[in-house]
C-alpha cells in the first residue's frame, strides 16, 4: 500500500470497497444498468486499452494510451449512458436476447486513500453465455479511482486491462 492516510481502518475500507464491487457485479449481472450508471461520477473516464506483444525493451508500448490511441473503450459518462440505453432498447441484437453473465471480482487491494479518494485494484473473471453455446471468458485487472460522496462511493476513473491480444470474443457488449 502506498500513501494511505485512513479515516477508517484498512480492513474496514477493504470490506467497504469489496461490498461496493459485489453490488456493482450484481447490477451488471441482473441488467440493472441504469442503477449502475448512478455509481459513476459525472466526470468518469472508463478506459480499456488494447494490448500489444512487444519486445522486452519496448514494454512501454504494451498498452495503447488513453485519450490518444485506439482502445476497446475510451468512454465518458455520456457514452456509457448511450451503451446502457442501447443494451436496454430491446432491439440491440447483440444483446437481444440478453446474455447470461457472471462477474467475479477478487484480489481487491487498496493502493491509496486520501481525503475523499480511494484508489483500488482488483482482478475480474467474467463468464458470458448467450444463445445456445456461445461462451466468452474475460480475465484481467482493474484499477479504479473511487470518490466518497454523501450517497456512497462513486467511480471517478476505471482502467481495465483485459489479458488478451487478439480479442477472443466477437463482441464486447458486457461492462467491466
Amino acid at each position: 500500500m502506498e500513501n494511505v492516510a485512513f479515516q477508517h481502518s484498512l480492513p474496514a475500507l477493504v470490506h467497504e470497497v469489496e461490498q461496493f464491487y459485489f453490488l456493482e457485479a450484481d447490477m451488471f449481472d441482473e441488467w440493472r444498468l441504469r442503477e449502475w450508471l448512478e455509481l459513476l461520477a459525472d466526470d468518469v473516464r472508463y478506459f480499456m486499452p488494447m494490448t500489444r506483444n512487444v519486445a522486452h525493451n519496448n514494454r512501454a508500448a504494451q498498452f495503447t494510451r488513453p485519450q490518444q490511441d485506439v482502445a476497446w473503450f475510451d468512454d465518458d459518462k455520456q457514452i456509457l449512458v448511450a451503451r446502457v440505453e442501447q443494451i436496454l432498447s430491446g432491439v440491440h441484437w447483440a444483446e437481444e436476447p440478453l446474455s447470461r453473465i457472471s462477474h467475479l471480482v477478487t484480489n481487491v487491494r487498496i493502493h491509496a486513500a486520501e481525503g475523499d479518494t480511494v484508489e483500488a485494484g482488483s482482478r475480474f473473471l467474467i463468464y458470458k453465455n448467450r444463445m445456445q453455446s456461445e461462451t466468452d471468458i474475460y480475465v484481467g485487472k482493474r484499477r479504479d479511482v473511487l470518490r466518497r460522496t454523501a450517497d456512497g462511493l462513486r467511480i471517478a476513473k476505471r482502467t481495465i486491462w483485459l489479458d488478451q491480444n487478439v480479442l477472443l470474443a466477437k463482441n464486447l457488449t458486457t461492462l467491466f
Binding site: 519486445a55 485506439v70 475510451d74 432491439v91 447483440a94 470474443a169
Partner: protein, 435 residues
C-alpha cells in the same frame, strides 16, 4: 458430391450457401482468390523510421511490414527458411535484424540471411546464404501510403487490377478538404474474431445499404458527432440525394456513396464540438471548390476485392482475414489527417471507436447477424438452399456518366447490385480467372 462451380453463383441473383460454409470452397479460395489478389498489409505511417516493423497478415500467412535500415519498405513472410518458426513475434517495434528463436538464423531488416549458427562446422561453409533470405511477395505497391502485396508472380500490376476503383479509393484518401495530404494511423490496430465466413464482412461493406434494421438500436441514440439522431455524422444532412452503388466489373470492386443534387452550403456534421465543426466547415468549402461537381458525391465506403473494406465517415480500413470457412479475424486501422488539430483527431478517434469494432455500438449488431446467419447455413436442409441477391436489379449508368469510369455500373437506392458484382468476380476467380 464434387463441387459444381457454375451453379454457386447464378445470373439471376441466386447464390449457394455453400460458398460460405463449404471447406472445399474455402480450400479453393485460398489458391484462386487469396494467392492471386492484391492484399492490404498496412500503412507507411506505421513504420516511419528505418528499422520499424509492423506484423500483419495476408490470408492465413503471417507477414512482416518492414522499413529496412536504408529506408526501403518490404513485406516478408514471417517464417524462418530453416524450420518455419516465426522470426518476428512482436506486433510492432524497431529492429536491425530478425533473430529466429529456434536455431538462431538471423535476417537483416531487408530480409537478407545474415548469420547461421555453425556455418563453418555444420554447413562446412557451403550454404548459399543469398538463396535463403526471408521470402518476399513478388509484387508490392504503395498506393498513397497504403501498402499492398500480391503473391502471384503473374499478377496484374496494382493499378490495372484496381481499375476504376482507383477513383473511389483516392476519394477515400482525400483529406476532408478534398486535397492530397498525409494520413496517419492512430496507435493500435483492432483485431478480433468473427465466427463467420470472411465474405460476410466483404459483401456488407461492398453494398449493403439495405440493413438499416440491424442498427435500429444505435439509431435511437445520438452517437454521431453531429449530436443528432442517426449513427452517421452525414445523417444530419437532409438534402435531396441518391444512394449510389458502384460495381466495378473489372476487378470485382465496389463503392457506395451519396450523390447530392445540389452544391448545398455546409450543414453541421460535428455540431457537438464547435472547433471541430469549424474545421469541417472550412474543409467542406475547400472541397467544393477543388472538386467542382465531383464534390457532390460523398463516399460512404466500399470493398476492394477481395477482403479490404473502408469506411469514409469513420476514416477506417478493415481487412477480413480468412481463418477457415467458418472463421474470420477482422483487423481494423483508424486514420486521421496528420495535420489536423488535436481536437479534430480526438473527436474522429472517439467517434470511430464507439461506432466500429467489437466494442462499437454499430458494428456489434453486424457481428451478431453475420455470426448467426452464417451458422444457419450449416444445416443439412439449409445448406442446399440459395440466398436471394435479387434486390434492386435496375441500373442507371447516367448517374456517374462523364466520370470516366468505363468498367463501372451504377444502381441507385436499395439494391444488391454491388454484391452481385462481387460474387460474379469471385466466381470467375474461383474458376481460374484473373484478379
Amino acid at each position: 458430391m464434387p463441387l459444381d462451380l457454375d451453379t454457386l453463383v447464378t445470373d439471376d441473383g441466386l447464390i449457394s450457401r455453400e460458398i460460405f460454409s463449404s471447406a472445399e470452397v474455402y480450400a479453393r479460395e485460398r489458391e484462386t482468390v487469396f494467392a492471386k489478389s492484391w492484399l492490404f498489409v498496412g500503412h507507411v505511417s506505421q513504420i516511419p523510421n528505418p528499422g520499424d516493423f509492423f506484423l500483419s497478415t495476408t490470408g492465413e500467412d503471417s507477414v512482416i511490414l518492414s522499413r529496412d535500415t536504408k529506408g526501403k519498405v518490404h513485406v516478408f513472410l514471417n517464417s524462418c527458411r530453416h524450420r518455419g518458426m516465426r522470426v518476428c513475434r512482436f506486433d510492432e517495434g524497431n529492429t536491425r535484424r530478425f533473430l529466429c528463436p529456434y536455431h538462431g538464423w538471423t535476417y537483416a531488416s531487408d530480409g537478407t540471411l545474415l548469420g547461421v549458427p555453425e556455418f563453418t562446422n555444420g554447413y562446412q561453409g557451403v550454404l548459399d546464404k543469398s538463396q535463403w533470405g526471408l521470402i518476399e511477395p513478388p509484387h508490392l505497391f504503395d498506393f498513397h501510403g497504403m501498402i499492398w502485396v500480391n503473391w502471384d508472380p503473374q499478377a496484374q500490376p496494382f493499378l490495372e487490377s484496381l481499375g476504376d476503383m482507383a477513383f473511389f479509393l483516392e476519394d477515400f484518401l482525400r483529406m476532408p478538404d478534398g486535397g492530397i495530404g498525409e494520413w496517419e494511423v492512430i496507435g493500435g490496430v483492432m483485431k478480433w474474431p468473427i465466427p463467420a465466413n470472411w465474405k460476410w464482412g466483404a459483401e456488407n461493406f461492398a453494398g449493403d445499404f439495405y440493413h438499416g434494421i440491424s442498427h435500429a438500436s444505435v439509431d435511437q441514440i445520438a452517437i454521431s458527432p453531429s449530436g443528432e439522431l442517426g449513427r452517421h455524422q452525414s445523417d444530419a444532412v437532409k438534402r435531396p440525394m441518391k444512394l449510389i452503388n458502384a460495381s466495378i466489373a473489372k476487378g470485382g470492386h465496389s463503392a457506395r456513396g451519396r450523390l447530392f443534387e445540389d452544391d448545398y452550403p455546409y450543414t453541421s456534421e460535428y455540431g457537438k464540438y464547435a472547433e471541430v465543426d469549424r474545421y469541417f466547415a472550412d474543409a467542406y468549402e475547400k472541397r467544393q471548390q477543388r472538386l467542382g461537381p465531383l464534390a457532390r458525391l460523398h463516399g460512404a465506403g466500399g470493398t476492394v476485392f477481395p477482403n479490404m473494406s473502408y469506411s469514409n465517415g469513420r476514416y477506417s480500413i478493415a481487412v477480413w482475414n480468412p481463418r477457415g470457412a467458418d472463421r474470420t479475424e477482422a483487423w481494423r486501422w483508424y486514420l486521421v489527417p496528420k495535420d489536423a488539430p488535436e481536437a479534430v483527431k480526438d473527436v474522429m478517434r472517439h467517434y470511430a471507436i464507439r461506432y466500429q469494432g467489437p466494442s462499437g455500438m454499430t458494428e456489434q449488431d453486424d457481428l451478431e447477424n453475420w455470426n448467426y446467419a452464417h451458422e444457419a447455413c450449416h444445416g443439412n436442409v439449409a445448406r442446399k438452399l440459395d440466398f436471394n441477391y435479387q434486390l434492386g436489379r435496375e441500373t442507371d449508368d447516367s448517374l456517374l456518366a462523364g466520370w470516366n469510369l468505363p468498367h463501372t455500373t451504377v444502381a441507385a437506392g436499395f439494391t444488391e447490385h454491388n454484391q452481385r458484382g462481387f460474387y460474379r468476380h469471385w466466381q470467375s476467380m474461383l474458376s481460374g480467372g484473373q484478379g
